[in-house]
Homo-oligomer: 548 residues x 2
């Protein structure tokens, strides 16, 4: 039996792959595809963490971001906050271990949710420069500030502490990180500058100071002084739990009976409902959860799906609110009209969520380009993968012509508009670890479209009352200007006298003007009539002349 | 100092997240987005492993796939091979632990490369049914077959062995898995049926027997009896190594000096080159690698980038070859013309790769639809995320009009064509863990386009010689058929006699026919002339008649 086979030889090569090794070879999955995006990711992950920590500790955030260019393709990124700080023992793991954190296992609105973000920054910095992350943190005036230099042991996915000391720090509490990494700095779309601008827009309670690589300091002042309301943690809704998860929960619960397990470990299950679920499943409600066999668990699972259970609580969600959204828009975008719509909460796969839309129209916004889309998930700007995002599908599927914008089939509409779309949820379903796009759940897209319609109607009403009349007057003026020239051309074609044609044209214009300048009821109708003046009427005038 | 701060409270919630927990909450990242795709993923991961194992053990593969429908949305998936089997001790980890395997750490052509695939199938099956995976494996006639029932402890990412026994098995060697999972079965694009068909096409050396849920047994017989040549492992090329990786390699190498490290742990570095690299970096070539500080490592890194090093060896690649590709196409696709092009090897980020194209034209293929694209990476069909794949960019960017197909701007061409595109590499850069699309490296897209052009020219030559003349004859026949009718209409319009017009038209047609039926040099030119007959000439005839 000791014969050595090919299988023995192959067995020798089998080994465990650490999650750090995996992501270090596949760093594009974390968003570190190229040096420009890497610089953005570093700032984004650090600022997201700062804002989350401040909100959880109920501190109004003051955040400092600095980019220092060290070489053509190397930067130092500094992010400092006035948050609650991190206890000394936790610092190495939070920054130096992938898949470590407090946000993954709870259902609670937060920017981070995976336990990957900031340690991925260290992983990437170390991969491209060989250097670690420098972290200073202080948890209160009675505590000393701690300084760490942390590397990441990719083969074990564990932090390596290179230095660890107490330091003097003027701040009473807060955290500062510094890291060197390969990057490139470029302004414009998808830049760090754009990210900072958007994060300020969507977090008007935060003050953000940003020192650019060109050593310019930009200050985004606080727009409101109130913190968003505190995020509540909720229990999973029974409809969102899969059979395998239900089995795991049954085996790890601290409750003593199936009935109390159902009531305590889920939201929205009363004693009566627990009884009903157990009855239907033919499971004894007083049985110990750990004794439930797979088949019984499956019966419970099916019974849950066949029982009417009300939707999960939604007070765990933290909308920006229409007012704050409009304030944010006004602060950052120079337009002539602003509106917003916050939808009531809804549910996908047992997870509560809500959608908010802000629209800015006109002013200095570009008329002939596609509308600018600004996407946010739990107050975090999403700058990449727009095409792969549910947001884009919702916008493309909305009939914008009815709201006064032009739009080709299956395209983003064209017009002087910024669309802000915010999804707020205890669990945002991202399409990748880099958290760049929202997955295409039908329930989410439906809510996005309803929100776009609400805001769209407000915008359409403004366009109808203010913009269309103005534009039509402009068109009439233009037409008047060309009447003499047109009359001359038509005179040559038809042989009729120029003056006669000119008078005729002016008569037609005047007749139509009355209709045009009166208050038209539908924005869309107005647009069609407008077109008639500019093109259609010209032809009918020609027809009249030929017939005369 | 014992004051309890918010930071202390927050610290209590921090904890490690296992990679299984992570992917169980984010299973869409592994390709298990929906029940239909999940069924495909399960078959795909198991068959990929079977083919890899057979190739590594130099066994001509015989694979059996069966889908049993148990309930509307529940299936049992069975995959059995005649591979080398797996030694008993390795079975639980290979199937019951994510990020475990032999393929991640080496540079060698294989279907799997991440150590996630088959354990992700167990993770998903368990999540949706609460059941585990049943594995039977035997490593040779002198060994007993082992049977395991394996679950996955998601909180620890470790296998749980539910049952473990020796069994009787008729097979001398091989592996069989059985798993229940939530799924839906649908034919057509992106189906299991399509996957099996494509895997047979691209692996003509494999025999695949597939029993569908409708209990139909399809047999894809072997097209060739030779195995692909054996895959060679290569060492990393110095140009593809990042600074952080270089540092890690320096610290873990078993070589005694920097010079021998450079020569042994990389490909393409001779003793002279190692000396040159060290000299430029001002590093002593005899220094122990583990004593090299970060700054010295960075100097070495920069010195490598500034030293001319020849491209990596490419005998590690295993092209299908043009002959096998055409054989595979002929076996599975009913067309009238087949051609193929295998490009010479190239390199991206230090990784050798090559691109192959197969084209099938005409026959029963649909004329008015977009060409059908079949994408493969290391002989694995890629059925999802076509839009996100480098392949699609390469096809869209190729000027197909020159090769006799019609194409709108930035679109997939239209015509009776199947395009097979195969990327072969020691490391295929996928855009996600689900391995559905190839990332957009410029070097890869360039090679794809060159291969498409090579095959495109062959197809164009065939179309020119055989198809265009046939089509033109058809058009002429059509025109002749309508001459009497056209003559009647023109006669009414012009007042000229019908017979005169008919004669005139026939004369024009005859004059043009000579040009048309002669051998035209360029497919594109031919197409334009063809159009002239059908539309343009009609007008000029009308002009002649009016003038008469």
């Amino acid at each position: 039996m000791a014969e050595r086979t090919k299988a023995h030889e192959m067995a020798e090569k089998q080994r465990e792959i650490s999650v750090s090794e995996f992501f270090s070879k596949n760093r594009h999955l974390l968003g570190f595809d190229n040096p420009r995006k890497a610089l953005l990711m570093a700032v984004k992950e650090a600022v997201d963490n700062s804002l989350d920590a401040c909100e959880e500790a109920r501190i109004i955030p003051d955040i400092y971001v600095e980019l220092q260019q060290l070489k053509e393709d190397r930067f130092k990124v500094i992010v400092e906050d006035n948050g609650p700080g991190i206890v000394k023992e936790q610092i190495p793991k939070i920054f130096g271990k992938l898949l470590y954190g407090s946000k993954f296992h709870r259902l609670r609105v937060s920017r981070g949710q995976q336990g990957i973000g900031i340690s991925a920054v260290l992983l990437y910095g170390q991969l491209t420069t060989g250097k670690g992350m420098h972290v200073t943190s202080r948890i209160g005036p009675k505590h000393q500030a701690h300084y760490f230099e942390i590397h990441l042991d990719t083969q074990r996915n564990e932090p390596i502490i290179k230095e660890d000391k107490t330091v003097e720090w003027k701040k009473e509490h807060g955290t500062r990180i510094e890291i060197e990494l390969q990057g490139t700095y470029q302004k414009g779309k998808q830049s760090v500058d754009e990210y900072i601008k958007e994060i300020a827009l969507i977090n008007p309670h935060a003050q953000i100071t940003y020192k650019t690589p060109e050593k310019e300091t930009l200050t985004y002042a606080r727009g409101i002084t109130e913190l968003p309301k505190e995020a509540k943690e909720i229990k999973p809704h029974p409809y969102g739990v899969e059979l395998g998860v239900l089995i795991r929960m049954l085996h790890s619960t601290t409750t003593g009976s199936v009935s109390s397990f159902l009531q305590n470990d889920f939201s929205r299950i009363s004693q009566g409902l627990a009884q009903e679920i157990c009855d239907k499943a033919k499971v004894n409600p007083r049985a110990r959860p750990s004794t439930i066999a797979r088949d019984e668990a499956e019966a419970l699972y099916n019974s849950i799906l066949n029982t009417k259970i009300i939707a999960p609580p939604t007070d765990c969600l933290i909308p920006l609110g229409e007012e704050a959204l409009i304030k944010g828009l006004k602060k950052e975008i120079n337009a002539e009209f602003y509106c917003a719509a916050t939808r009531p909460p809804s549910v996908y796969r047992g997870n509560p969520f809500l959608i908010e839309i802000g629209l800015a129209y006109g002013g200095s916004l570009e008329k002939e380009e596609s509308v600018k889309i600004m996407r946010f998930a739990n107050r975090v700007p999403l700058l990449y993968q727009q095409g792969a995002c549910a947001t884009t599908e919702a916008i493309v599927d909305t009939a914008w012509k009815g709201y006064g914008l032009s739009q080709s089939k299956e395209s983003i509409p064209v017009g002087p508009v910024v669309v802000v779309l915010h999804m707020n949820s205890v669990w945002v379903p991202f399409t990748s670890e880099a958290k760049e796009a929202i997955a295409h759940y039908p329930e989410i897209i439906k809510e996005m479209k309803l929100a776009l319609q609400e805001a769209g109607r407000q915008m359409a009403s403004y366009i109808r009352k203010n913009v269309k009349a103005r534009e039509q007057q402009e068109r009439i003026n233009l037409f008047e200007k060309y009447i003499p020239e047109l009359a001359a051309s038509l005179s040559e074609l038809s042989g009729e006298k120029k003056e006669v044609i000119k008078l005729e044209l002016e008569k037609v214009l005047k007749k139509n003007m009355k209709d045009l300048l009166s208050d038209v009821k539908e924005a869309e109708k107005t647009e069609i009539k407008g077109k008639n003046v500019a093109y259609g009427e010209k032809q009918s005038t020609l027809g009249d002349l030929n017939g005369s």
